[in-house]
Symmetry: C2
Subunit: 559 residues, 2 copies
């Protein structure tokens, strides 16, 4: 049931003007030319890999693309699901081959190697042509990563009806390159644990919309599911159970799986706050473990960052984990530090008094120590905005700052000259709107109400409030799922297809026509993304009644 | 991430006072006595059915209870999940048998027959005793339906650790009877289609919390997935596809499956509004099918209820479907009728003018005709509140009225003397809070924001604003999932465990102590319900971090 709402005559009119083939690419490419010819995929279609020294993961990617081409079996989202296309298909030519090649001079490295190069140095662009006459389609790029992105686009063109896989848009010519180098998805695996298989499935879905960074908030105050060789107690005492630990081999498998799908894994070990669980193994390192009442999310407890031994332990922990990962980036967190915790903490006060330093000085030293160790290990630190805006700690210019509290905070970070990842809770937090999760609160609402719809997220402007000179500081952004009220049981429907919104904002930035992105144009394409995800075994939430999905714009709100 | 919130010292204190065995019954029984003795379930445990002429579905229920006892394998929700219980179990006695019997004079009918008797005449009460000394446990009731409820309670007592299934609460004595006869769950299968298997799984989950009515909103304006022998066109033209139809045998199977789990199926064919799709088969019967702009949820279109042939068709349709069902109840809907649709509808105006009647008179005649036919077929009509409060149509005194627009509306319905099912959107709508689903609305929110948490639903008072004399009119209530933004992909997590809230409100009404239900006491039990559902293969959403679930009240908001 729903209230009376006005649905527009214009919407019905618009629907009648749509081409017979709805363009369902997501994210939309930089430039695009399509025709109106039907083109069938040959039963003996093959990918011709003309890449000297092609790496194994390129062949895996081709095998996956072949699999999707054969098994997606997605009917077009129109009434009849393609029944009306049979006439056009009767006279259609047949496509037998897509030839993959690198531009001259380019060398073939594994996709997984290209995917973890420094931001700004990765080559994700590609060119794709699909002739209407049945002659060979071509995909060219400067790197295997570009070829991988092109394969993803290629798969999105094809529909299935009555045993035939086809497109109605031939001939097709695309050149495509991302607007922003960082396009992420964040997941918290500490509040609740997600089995490895759920993470792998999520990485697959991320790759379908060209998301290239998995921001893995792997630990927090509630559990420490990360196995660390030098500090086995952390997981032994901190994981929810021995079955709920990401072993070192799990991490390596996930990182390789992600890399071969063009995804870099940005691991986060949040410090010095959000660390209570470390106290179960190192009680001397954690303050106010049982503090109550407390301003923290339970359990309370934060690292005694002022203590030299805690600084050394933390630096060693972060480096030990970071050096096992191929990524250039590692997040040390830094959000929601509650300094009142240390006011009555004897070890901390004793240390401050004996050295005549302030808590903020100590935080600065802690950050220098931990970040210094990471930088020495060849890593670039990533932090949450408070480290810059609340504590003003001294950070390397290379440090990347994640904005989360509000989209309004990006300007202040930019004014400090730091590079930015946009993860504003008021647009991108996937967990908002589910109501208060703390107990004994009968009618409490979510702290970040309302629910952030795909369309709300889609209206985010990455450059809002910034000066042109500051634009270059925006690396991209990500939507995030915090897991106080989420787990494997609702992972797919709470993340998908919503997380595709930021994927398009940061890859496409605008429509091929040059027009700004807008939700009305995007919805039919997002339905297509969502229905293809269902065909591939994911469980994305329906955005509208199926009746609406089959009738583009018929359910648009009359503006 | 979350904002700073105060978590209470009192909460930690309370946690330390909890008994070693948390009472995890849901809904809580009428009277309850438990001890502090551990009791193991024998590997050769059996159910001794001492019921003369026991029906097949009672044996099925016993087989299912045996299966849950062996396969739930639920660890207690405490740190260690039961590791600390081994000492108590070392000296524990072993339970070998639960004897089921009917009270003297009671005759054994199939559960499915008992489940569909008229509201108020069903016998769901039971008495359960589980001695601590290993002697036979006993379950007695006046009906097989009561025995079924008792079996459901019996299963909730047992946990698993280290190969042992046990309870820590023996001896146990329970007498239990529901406070309200109607405890439902509503599902809309028209906006989006749910395969039969999803409905069966939902019926299982309903039975676990003693919900006894499946309110099936099977058709609406978007699709008509119901096969009707006399009107095959309705599904042929109105279903989303030939694979998305509930055939007559599907319906019979679902009804039998529900009945054997103590659940009555209340089918709803919403009329005269919410019927646009009927126009694809009977265009002459539907007005303003293409009306735009329109105040309706797309597609527009409502039955031309003023036309005699439409009255006859509708009466025939409703009766044809109703008579295939064992339930005494059938819903004709009646919500959100937009009378402006008929202002310019020639056939309707011609009919009104030629007979000198008003639209409201015609609606009255339509209702008399359709309800009269249902009553003649032995069915009691159920309608949405507008039929009484907006249109004041003449209804049989037996008619049951569903309140949905607001919990404030129950009083007005009660003042008219009708029996009430409480389904207020401001407490019980499971779909609220997901944002606007109509397109072209970048930042629109849900019409019924915010999201209705389990705790918000749990605070609903079924008798609020009513006089004592009106209390008897409240039959019970239900939570409902409307499917504009839901489908098989998110069915489990959006419904469960939230729908357990109304299940306890309407079965228990209060705690065994006589104290009012309250969310603080309920949360640890609801975690238990939710974790047991996970063990049984359902995908209920986590209510809190696992850390909180293992530490009752440790995550309560400081009040």
């Amino acid at each position: 049931m729903a209230p009376s709402r006005y649905v527009g005559y214009l919407a019905f009119f618009a629907a009648s003007l749509l081409p017979s083939g709805i363009l369902a690419l997501w994210p939309v490419p930089t430039t695009l030319e399509t025709g109106m010819s039907a083109l069938k995929v040959s039963p003996s279609f093959y990918f011709d890999v003309q890449v000297e020294g092609a790496p194994a993961d390129l062949y895996e990617a081709v095998g996956q693309a072949q699999c999707y081409l054969e098994t997606d079996k997605l009917g077009r989202l129109v009434v009849g699901r393609g029944a009306t296309d049979t006439t056009a298909l009767a006279s259609a030519k047949t496509l037998s081959c897509l030839k993959l090649s690198l531009t001259s001079g380019a060398t073939a490295e594994p996709i997984a190697s290209e995917a973890v190069k420094p931001l700004g140095t990765r080559s994700e662009e590609y060119a794709l042509t699909i002739p209407a006459d049945g002659s060979t389609a071509t995909l060219t790029a400067n790197s295997t990563l570009g070829l991988y992105r092109g394969l993803t686009t290629f798969n999105q063109f094809f529909y299935y009806y009555g045993g035939v896989t086809y497109t109605l848009l031939a001939p097709i010519a695309i050149t495509d390159t991302p607007a922003y180098p960082y396009r992420g998805l964040g997941l918290d695996t500490s509040r609740n644990y997600y089995p490895v298989t759920d993470i792998l499935r999520t990485l697959d879905a991320m790759s379908w919309v060209k998301i290239n960074t998995f921001h893995w908030h792997i630990t927090d105050s509630q559990s420490f599911p990360l196995e660390v060789a030098r500090y086995p107690d952390l997981a032994m005492n901190g994981a929810y159970s021995s079955q709920e630990i990401y072993t070192e081999s799990d991490i390596q498998y996930i990182v390789q799986y992600a890399g071969s799908r063009g995804i870099d894994v940005l691991l986060e070990i949040d410090t010095p706050g959000h660390t209570a669980i470390i106290g179960t193994s190192y009680p001397d390192y954690v303050a106010c473990f049982d503090a109550t009442p407390t301003p923290y999310e339970p359990p309370a407890g934060q690292l005694r960052f002022a203590l030299p031994e805690v600084m050394d332990f933390t630096a060693s922990l972060l480096v030990d984990v970071a050096k096992t990962l191929p990524s250039y980036y590692f997040s040390t967190g830094g959000d929601e530090l509650h300094t009142d915790c240390y006011a009555d903490d004897y070890p901390t006060q004793q240390q401050l008094n004996s050295t005549g330093t302030t808590l903020n000085d100590a935080l600065n030293t802690f950050t220098q120590t931990t970040h210094g160790a990471l930088i020495s290990a060849g890593k670039t630190p990533v932090v949450w905005e408070e480290m810059v805006l609340d504590w003003n700690v001294t950070l390397s210019n290379e440090t990347i700052v994640m904005v989360w509290i509000s989209s309004e905070d990006a300007l202040a970070v930019a004014e400090r000259g730091f590079r930015i990842v946009q993860a504003p809770s008021n647009y991108f937090y996937l967990d908002c709107g589910a109501g208060e999760w703390l107990g004994a609160d009968p009618t409490g609402n979510s702290w970040c109400d309302p629910f952030k719809t795909w369309s709300k997220a889609y209206t985010f402007d990455p450059l809002a409030n910034l000066t042109e000179a500051q634009y270059k500081l925006v690396l991209g952004g990500e939507q995030i799922l915090w897991s106080e009220q989420s787990g494997p049981q609702n992972l797919d429907p709470i993340v998908w297809p919503r997380a595709a919104s930021s994927a398009e904002i940061f890859w496409s930035a605008k429509q091929p026509s040059g027009a700004a992105l807008n939700v009305t144009e995007a919805l039919p394409r997002l339905h297509d993304v969502r229905y293809r995800m269902v065909q591939r075994g994911l469980n994305p939430i329906p955005l509208q009644p199926h009746w609406c999905a089959l009738r583009p714009h018929a359910c648009d709100l009359y503006a």
